[in-house]
């Protein structure tokens, strides 16, 4: 009896999992199907073709967008890790005037929905003349309150004796941070790295506001513009462009799924 229920459970789980995976499989297979075949339920195309990809690549600068996204996401992630950890270290282990105020401000930032500050930030960028530049995409994201709080929380746990010993050895605070704290903080740093990178990689609204030039668009932005603007011509092509955005993520996810889950779930709860 119990085995029957077990089998039922696995069947139900299997069906559920299928509804989560199948759409992506269908999307992937559709990109390899020629126009006539599109919409068929079969996963294996009768006439495998790379045309959709060729068309997509020719019609819009996806290679460039890939580069842009990578550049922006990497820069932001590095900044959040390096400068964010500096801030978190200061907030956790150094005494300075205004520390409580900074703490409160960081928490406060988390409470405010992004939409409130969206327009003023936009006007700021416009006034600084930074429309259609990389800084426009990067500047507002240089520091991440959630990341700082997470790192601060972690840094609070590291024993004071390590810091004291290092200071007596004459190490500067920065040196302490990077040579002692960083190696000990691998778990939290990787969590922060993942959710920061993914957040930046998938961000669409902000790029849509501050970037008009196709050459500077990020990948999800170009994809959106491309798919909506009719530049795709056919669904196969627009799906192919979606694949460019999705495939690197899925590959990374397959290898690092535990880290992804830990990271994005954890960040969401904290936020």
């Amino acid at each position: 009896m119990r085995t029957l229920r077990r089998i039922g459970l696995y069947v139900a789980l299997g069906l559920a999992a299928l509804t989560f995976i199948y759409p992506f499989l269908w999307m992937a297979s559709s990109t390899f199907k020629p126009r006539e075949e599109f919409g068929s339920l079969a996963l294996i195309p009768d006439h495998f073709t790379l045309d959709n990809y060729r068309t997509m690549w020719a019609r819009a600068p996806f290679g460039r967008a890939l580069l842009n996204s990578t550049l922006v996401a990497t820069t932001i992630t590095l900044s959040v890790l390096v400068f964010g950890s500096m801030t978190a270290y200061a907030m956790a282990r150094l005494r300075f005037r205004g520390r409580p105020a900074l703490n409160a401000a960081t928490l406060g930032v988390l409470l405010v929905p992004g939409q409130l500050t969206l327009i003023p930030l936009y006007t700021l960028i416009v006034q600084l003349g930074l429309i259609d530049t990389y800084p426009a995409l990067i500047l507002p994201y240089l520091f991440n309150a959630t990341a700082i709080l997470m790192m601060r929380q972690f840094f609070l746990q590291i024993p004071q004796s390590l810091i004291d010993a290092a200071r007596m050895d004459g190490m500067s605070e920065l040196r302490i941070l990077f040579t002692i704290f960083w190696p000990l903080s691998k778990p939290v740093l990787s969590i922060v790295a993942i959710f920061t990178f993914m957040g930046s990689w998938n961000e669409v609204l902000w790029p849509l506001l501050v970037v008009r030039d196709e050459q500077l668009m990020t990948l999800p932005q170009l994809l959106t513009v491309f798919a909506l603007g009719g530049g795709a011509g056919s669904v196969g092509v627009s799906l192919a462009s979606a694949m460019v955005l999705v495939v690197p993520v899925v590959i990374a996810y397959m290898f690092l799924q535990r880290n992804f889950i830990e990271s994005m779930a954890g960040a969401g709860i904290k936020g």
Binding site: L9, Y10, L13, A16, F20, I21, P23, F24, F38, L41, M86, T87, L94, G98, L102, A105, T106, V109, V112, P113, G114, Q115, L116, T117, L118, I119, P120, L121, Y122, T123, L124, V126, L139, P140, L142, F143, I148, L174, W201, N202, V204, L205, L208, L209, P220, T224, L228, V235, S238, L239, A242, L245, V249, Y253, Q257, R258, I261, M264, A265, G268
Partner: protein, 277 residues
């Protein structure tokens, strides 16, 4: 060492918040100089049919999305909360859409929902039902988006519920079994009440998420049909980008923040009272 952050906060957090409130009282198209609008923006917003339509749409969205989210996430978490073969695989499968860009998911589901060539209608026809114009019928468009967003995020809430389930002490589970509870009674008297904090979190987060809906209507319906999927953030974006009305757009932003705050507070109050019962 914390100085750069302080500067950043001032420039990119404090200043925008303050300036947002200032903008509410201005009229500005970014090209010419801003002019004082007094309370005009606020008055306009109060009477703006499109804005309130968008707010109403959001409530339609939430009324479907939130309960559906709770039920599916909890159900999956309960199913996954046991020794399973390939447990990591199942968890990864459900979490996959969470890591995928919202734009991609929107494009994908636009095609799934497509009236003629969409996968969903094709499957419906296969099993003998008639196709539905998911995204073009004003009555089904927002619900369709709600289902899609539930699909995208359920993995995240499954993780939250799974974490909560770990905290139910084993002795409590065994005690209630010995006391004679059936599976349903165990769920009702022990599991569900123990998961109240998680359920609150699910409700709060998915509500906030619902109010921030943008890319989905932007990509899938442009706000139609008949503005039934028009979201507040979409309206904000259009006012800034398309209509060049910075002051008004900022007003929408502030109003949205206030609405979100109010809704979350009310939810907390209501649930708090339910918890006391």
């Amino acid at each position: 060492m914390a100085a750069p952050y302080a500067v950043f906060l001032l420039a990119f957090a404090a200043y925008p918040i303050v300036f947002a409130l200032v903008l509410v009282f201005l009229r500005w198209d970014l090209v010419t100089a801003p002019s004082i609008a007094g309370f005009d923006n606020i008055r306009l917003l109060a009477n703006d049919g499109r804005f309130w339509r968008a707010v109403a749409n959001t409530f339609v969205f939430l009324s479907i999305h939130v309960p559906l989210q709770i039920v599916t996430a909890l159900g999956l978490a309960l199913a996954l909360n046991r020794k399973l073969v390939l447990r990591g695989f199942w968890r990864a499968a459900f979490f996959l859409p969470v890591v995928i860009s919202g734009a991609v998911v929107a494009i994908l589901w636009s095609n799934l929902y497509a009236t003629d060539v969409g996968l969903i209608n094709k499957l419906l026809v296969r099993i003998g039902l008639s196709p539905v114009s998911w995204l073009t019928d004003p009555n089904t468009a927002m619900p369709a988006i709600a289902v899609m967003v539930t699909w995208k995020n359920v993995g995240f809430y499954v993780i939250i519920y799974l974490a909560g389930l770990q905290y139910i002490p084993r002795s409590c589970q065994e005690a209630i079994e010995i006391e004679g509870a059936s599976a349903w009674q165990r769920f009702r008297f022990l599991t569900l009440p123990s998961l109240l904090p998680q359920t609150i979190l699910v409700i709060t987060l998915s509500t906030i998420n619902g109010f921030q809906l943008f890319i989905e209507p932007y990509v899938m319906t442009g706000g139609g049909p008949l503005r039934r999927t028009y979201s507040v953030v979409l309206y904000l974006y259009n006012n800034a980008f398309a209509y060049q009305k910075m002051g008004y757009a900022a007003t929408i932003g502030v109003a949205l923040a206030l609405i979100i705050g109010a809704v979350v507070l009310i939810q907390r109050r209501v649930i708090g009272r339910a918890e006391a019962l």
